[in-house]
Point group: C2
């Protein structure tokens, strides 16, 4: 049986039962949709992912793009895959009809992209990056940019990039040094170096449009002096496309995501690189941050997808691989058992599943909050959903990256010595996964963002809304007959999170930001653990409700309950120790002098 | 400053203060040694590792051995490194003088090999494997094998392998299917397939000697029918070396350890592969297991070494890499700070160090138990040391593999986007590390071995001895003025481990092995956490004692205390939750039907 990439039973449970996504179609923005259009989108993505993306994975991993005469040449197979991906018309799918979109809920889009990313993350990457770049033009660009560049990007005729990072600055966007000098013709002359620009050049389409951060001459220092520019590789000049002095200055040899080149770019080496200001001057970081939640959710989707494909590979391997004897049957003359007979192998499989499906549920839920935040029926519901969206985003980004990496390592482990060989695919997904804790804000940055900004935003309004939504899940689970011990445990952990947040915030309000944030990464771990327990309780409630209806899938209900039990037994109790750690007065690394190391 | 591989200050502390290795020279076996001979061994290893092994790492990683006309051809540079490694005369170093050894304590040998493995694990691998194979011949071989093969192996003229694994059997040695048919000439004719044979062929030396498991015709099924054979690639026939019908049937493309080929071998494809029985028939597994502790300690050393070289790389990078602003100084006009100014970066560095040095201390201590177990002054001390050695070995093997992998991932994380590129070396060590949780018994197997056999061995005698040795450390720390809260915490955790072990053993004695072992992996995690806390308290005591003497290194004392504080705050409290988990009645994966997945 070929690798399913995601468990379709989980997807159906999330869409129909856990989060009732069809209910979104009651909102005007999504009114053209129904369960059937959702199904069509999901079917198209899963079929392409299974039938074409995954089978091409190995060759694209082994034969990455080459740099030939200063241009990037991709594998021929990628041309075909890119054409097929374009046909799905997903780039603009969540966007409004007036810009060529389908007004698809992000929650559904999230699931569709999860299949595609599980099939081949880097092939999909071109689309995702293009969507992000075009969305910036849609949101903040002037008429020229919105008519000249945006539509071709949404149609996939051209691709886009996010050209933020510079060699000297890394994650610190305050230190962007690329300059933009105004001209009398309305455009700017851009000069500077960018690095780690994914999809920064290729021969898949006729043009690449960079959404680049740069500093207008005389701008204030720091993030308040950074502006956003549209810097195409080829600029539109009447009916012609003219070389815009964007040079590929290097290709980074990444250890994963091999089909998507990561490039160093030089803007304006010949002094003729034109950039068009997007929106107002000095607002670049603000604009980027307005897109940040969705970009980070997409990283989370990638983390889950990469862990999911490896999980399914491990399940298939473990079912087939005979080795050893069961604990209770040591007769050496008996044939060996499949390794699923060993409890620790089942533990590793269930742990992977708990991470994968729990993470996917968290992402779909977070995306659903985004749908309501943008298109909810009234201001109050939009504001409320936006608060919870903001709160959950760093978790939805980093949990799949961190625990997904662990899940990918378990998939290798289950394969034993074969997993350590490149003849089996699990090692490649482990490599792919490692990027997700680094790009779009490292895990450490997510942690500071969560505790330092989002959890304390609005005087606790986000946490209060979250509290009530967790309560709703607990009530639902109890009504469905799910073991009340679980809802009690979730309430306790939730309340502990609230109390802890209040204590840490008080430290910050008292002026001791260091004491507040010293254990931000542990706080992120704690909150993630509770957030995923919340999802598992929701899923347990959903299968319990389903079980009352005819035709329910008893196996799927059983494995869903097993995951819930696993998470509540193995992970949720960690909250007590993590909370103590967040409060602790240990100064081991706070007082550490790097010279001691 | 070049990468030091290990912190020499830690090594000195372990040798002189924490574990007083010079005291071993009071034992007759080690009497020819003193602190100066230890220093000479360590200096030779660290110099070669720093000056030649590490600089060659990249090229050997990028240009692995090739299979040419059925033979393995290694990189030319490896010939030079192998010659230099041989000159260290380490292969036989711990062995008795009568077989050409130096009677060096394993505890010192462990540290020497740690430098070499940190410099280049796979280059060192040829030596380590050869030692293990020659040691089997020394211990169990007859006069013919001990004179014909063993000395040339101990001198490094020929290398050796452990040819255990077969494609159909994996970790399950009970299922070895290679056959050995006796002949009238005293040798056996061997026929079968082996896989994952590290160093199974190469052109570094004139011969490779395989210590292979095979089943003599008519042997009972299972492990009680498996015998050990010496199967050279070229057999000694008078003065000639004759091809012995050992074919290289494939090369596995490993993701790390690139300089050491992993091969599939075919014995007797032409019907002329001769093997010489080592020791008595059907005792092969027992012989192997007698060597197992030392082989597993060496895997642990590799785990620590691989994490250590990456840790030092991360320290150097973090000190130099400017990025962002400190929490308390957000002035955008100020120059960026080194990333060590960010608390979470210091956390990641200290965490790596706590794993690396804590793991190294555990290994040196475990090796010291092995020294006393083999060469102690009297039967009682040998027996006692052997019990604790047995107890600690699964921990010393798996802790560095599991937490070392985490440490290696943190080293990548600290490098940010650069860490994701093969232009920086940290990703390669992450690949290398992953093998250690798989070979020489997976982590799951170590866990079953620890809880199912070693912790309950001798009616609790091993645990009782361990208890007293932990007590000795607590008393030492208190006498040295180390914070009594730490010794109290360690005693509490130790006692909790003892109580838990008793409870789990009682389940086994009551006939419910499944309930006893369901959480064996969590038990291993728990015991490892306590065992490493024990090392950190010993190190804290050692630096406290040193601080009273003139010339003490205050920086090293400070970072050692910081690691102790970190471990006792962050890790040791996990014991409470892990113990609850080991006792829990959760049946999530015990009752899991693989068909549900």
């Amino acid at each position: 049986m070929p690798n399913p990439l995601l468990d379709d039973r989980d997807v159906a449970l999330l869409v129909d039962d856990a989060f009732d996504l069809p209910a979104l179609t009651a909102l005007p923005y999504f009114a053209e949709h129904d369960r059937a259009t959702f199904a069509a989108v999901l079917d198209g993505a899963r079929r392409l992912a299974r039938e074409e993306l995954l089978p091409a994975y190995r060759v694209l991993d082994e034969q990455p793009p080459r740099l030939v005469d200063g241009r990037v040449v991709v594998h021929p197979l990628l041309h075909r895959l890119f054409a097929r991906l374009r046909e799905l018309e997903l780039i603009a799918a969540p966007r409004p009809a007036e810009v060529g979109g389908q007004q698809l809920p992000l929650a559904v889009y999230t699931l569709a992209t999860a299949y595609l990313m599980a099939g081949n993350a880097s092939a999909y990457g071109y689309l995702g990056l293009t969507q992000g770049a075009a969305h910036l033009l849609e949101a903040f660009g002037d008429e020229h940019l919105r008519t000249t560049y945006m539509p071709r990007m949404y149609r996939g005729e051209w691709t886009g990039t996010m050209a933020l990072t510079e060699p000297q600055a890394g994650s610190s966007l305050a230190d962007v040094a690329t300059t933009a000098t105004p001209t009398a013709d309305g455009h700017y002359l851009v000069r500077g170096s960018k690095i780690f620009i994914s999809g920064g050049d290729h021969d898949l389409t006729g043009n690449v449009v960079h959404l680049a951060l740069a500093r207008i001459a005389g701008a204030p220092p720091g993030i308040k002096g950074v502006s956003l520019f549209c810097v195409p590789r080829l600029r539109v000049d009447g009916d012609a496309l003219v070389d815009n002095d964007v040079a590929v200055t290097g290709m980074i040899h990444k250890i994963g995501w091999k089909a998507l080149p990561s490039l160093a770019l030089g803007f304006g080496e010949r002094g003729d690189c034109r950039g068009w200001l997007v929106g107002a001057p000095h607002q670049g970081i603000r604009y980027m941050f307005q897109m940040m939640n969705e970009a980070r959710i997409m990283v989370g989707v990638n983390g889950v997808a990469t862990a999911s494909v490896a999980y399914h590979e491990a399940v298939a391997y473990a079912r087939e691989r005979p080795q050893g004897r069961a604990l209770a049957g040591k007769d050496p003359a008996a044939p060996p058992v499949a390794i699923t007979a060993h409890a620790d192998v089942r533990r590793m499989l269930l742990r992977q599943r708990a991470i994968v499906t729990g993470g996917l549920a968290l992402l779909v839920r977070t995306a659903r909050y985004a749908d309501v935040a943008h298109h909810g029926a009234d201001e109050a519901s939009r504001t409320r959903a936006g608060l919870v969206l903001d709160l959950l985003t760093p978790i939805a980004k980093s949990f799949p990256a961190e625990r997904g990496f662990e899940a990918n390592a378990l998939a290798v482990q289950i394969h034993g010595g074969y997993g350590y060989s490149s003849e089996y695919p699990v090692e490649a997904w482990l490599r792919d996964q490692k990027l997700n804790s680094i790009h779009e804000g490292t895990t450490g940055i997510q942690a500071l963002d969560l505790l330092g900004r989002r959890a304390v935003a609005g005087g606790g309004a986000a946490l209060a809304a979250w509290r009530d939504d967790v309560e709703r899940t607990c009530a639902r689970a109890e009504a469905a007959g799910v073991d009340a011990a679980w809802s009690t445990a979730l309430r306790t952990a939730r309340d502990a999170t609230l109390v802890l947040t209040g204590e840490l915030a008080a430290r910050g309000l008292a002026g001791d930001a260091e004491a507040m944030l010293a254990h931000a990464t542990d706080y992120l771990d704690l909150f993630s653990t509770v957030a995923v327990a919340w999802q598992w309780l929701e899923l347990a409630a959903a299968v319990a409700e389903r079980a009352r209806r005819p035709g329910a899938d008893a196996d799927h209900a059983a494995v869903t309950r097993a995951c819930t039990s696993y998470w509540f037994t193995t992970e949720l109790p960690r909250v007590v120790q993590l909370a103590a750690l967040c409060r602790s007065s240990d100064r081991s690394y706070l007082d550490l002098d790097p010279a001691w190391l």
